[in-house]
Symmetry: none
Subunit: 291 residues, 2 copies
Amino acid sequence: MGLYSDLREKLISDYAKLSPQMQKAARYILDHPNEVALRSMRALAGAADVPPSTITRLMTAIGVETWQEFRDHYQNRLLDQPASYAQRARETQKNEQDVNRDEHLLESISLTEIDNIRAAFSPELIAKMIDACGVIENARQVFIVGCGAAYPAAYQFAYGYRLFCDNGKLVDGHSGAFGDELRGITRRDVLIAVGAKPYIRGTVRAVNFARDQHCPVIAISDSDVSPIALDAMIKLVVRDHSQSFFQSFTAALSVMQALVALLVARGGQKALQRIAAAEEQLAAFDTYLEA
Amino acid sequence: MGLYSDLREKLISDYAKLSPQMQKAARYILDHPNEVALRSMRALAGAADVPPSTITRLMTAIGVETWQEFRDHYQNRLLDQPASYAQRARETQKNEQDVNRDEHLLESISLTEIDNIRAAFSPELIAKMIDACGVIENARQVFIVGCGAAYPAAYQFAYGYRLFCDNGKLVDGHSGAFGDELRGITRRDVLIAVGAKPYIRGTVRAVNFARDQHCPVIAISDSDVSPIALDAMIKLVVRDHSQSFFQSFTAALSVMQALVALLVARGGQKALQRIAAAEEQLAAFDTYLEA
DNA sequence: GAAATTTTGAAACATATGTTGCGGTTGCAT
DNA sequence: ATGCAACCGCAACATATGTTTCAAAATTTC
């Protein structure tokens, strides 16, 4: 029983002083506290990819006599947690218009976001996402457009897609007009457009332009009849409910991520190899911090 | 793996049919379910005042192959209070070699994403978010940095924040080095940094620079000891679990949105007015399509 | 560049754990 | 009483677990 109410803090404050392998172990423990409570030391060591002795050494390094003592702390933490959970739920339910106004808002946001995600992965939407993948795989070039609050979702897709395909192009309008970037778009290409109310003129224009060139459009939008989705080949209508009056783009982002994941999964070994190559290249450019 | 979602019911329904000693064991288990999850079988037997063999016999009596299986159920029960989806996600991930491979993947992604969001709005994180808002409100200038896959989350915050505060600055490194954009950062400012493994050098440098200038840092990251969060004043550790090997930034984005929403809510009427003005200005610029 | 120091992983060790087999006991019907 | 079946606990077993030891490797220091 140390001076620290929670050994996590000790682990964090001493982290810099630890040897590399111990850091690896400490990091895993910090990231997966429940495993400490439930699994054996050897199993934990295996999961953290360190030999068991490292764990023992880590114990002495942070001033804990034995693994049992360490585990007991985490078991108690696990036992106390649900209590605080339930307690808080009751608390916030009781006094609604109160000092807990902030907590209440955030919890409410959480529930709304979960609903949004859930709706985005309904069987219907899942089927459409799979269709969308088929279209993307057969496209000569993949354009992605999304402005304003929708830009993150568009960017996310473009960022992931670029790692294993080089025919993607993020149309962000940064370099002047959209027209330049969409030049040469044809029926063999595809435009992925993201946008919700209020519809930004640039996005709509891009969609209309693509339609005029008979280019199929995959729309991620808030309505089947939004100016973005109206004439789209595939309409992925995601909920954007939100407590504030900004719409939430969480579900849109999640869908974009899912599309990338699906494309990779369908791409098989080849896609994986390309990603590996891309990562290697980034490492060569010294983009990342040491392994 | 029985037909019962919870082995407790099986234990109760079969209770009358059990031999006296087994009843004693069953009774103790029913009264102390957490002990099953946390302690060893022999320890439990000792606590229940029965020999270990009685526990083993009880297992076969209720149709459970092994003690491990029994314990796993109770461990999940203990974990499933905060996060009920992780297990199901793991299950759906198992049967991949299937005709519905794509559907399964997407469903699994959905569950994982919901889990990530849920974890991001735990009571602990909620409290930290509120703290973060306090820091932001008192800051002279608010810098936001996020590179690569983390850029969308950073952008999202900057985009929303700009609508009601003009002291935000998105440090995207587009215009050359980070140093230029962070020049003049002081202890009265705040840096919001978003990033997960693999940590991009630029983000880490920005964080270190801010720390050297004694500027408080709000870190949205994947670990308490990530290079971004290690010395941060407020650490918002969000889960980034994902079915593909790209990390998911859904939770990070959601947290950023929540921060904006919370700031607006706390800003009251004044913030609303500013937003109205900003929207008006955008409308004047003809950014939006008319209603 | 060599020596000193630290760090690391494999193996060894004693103990703890889950399970099984066997003899003894109990309760019950004949 | 006696045979019979179910029940029970002890002890043995194989394996798993936490810890220590030791030599090789890596890092630092001079």
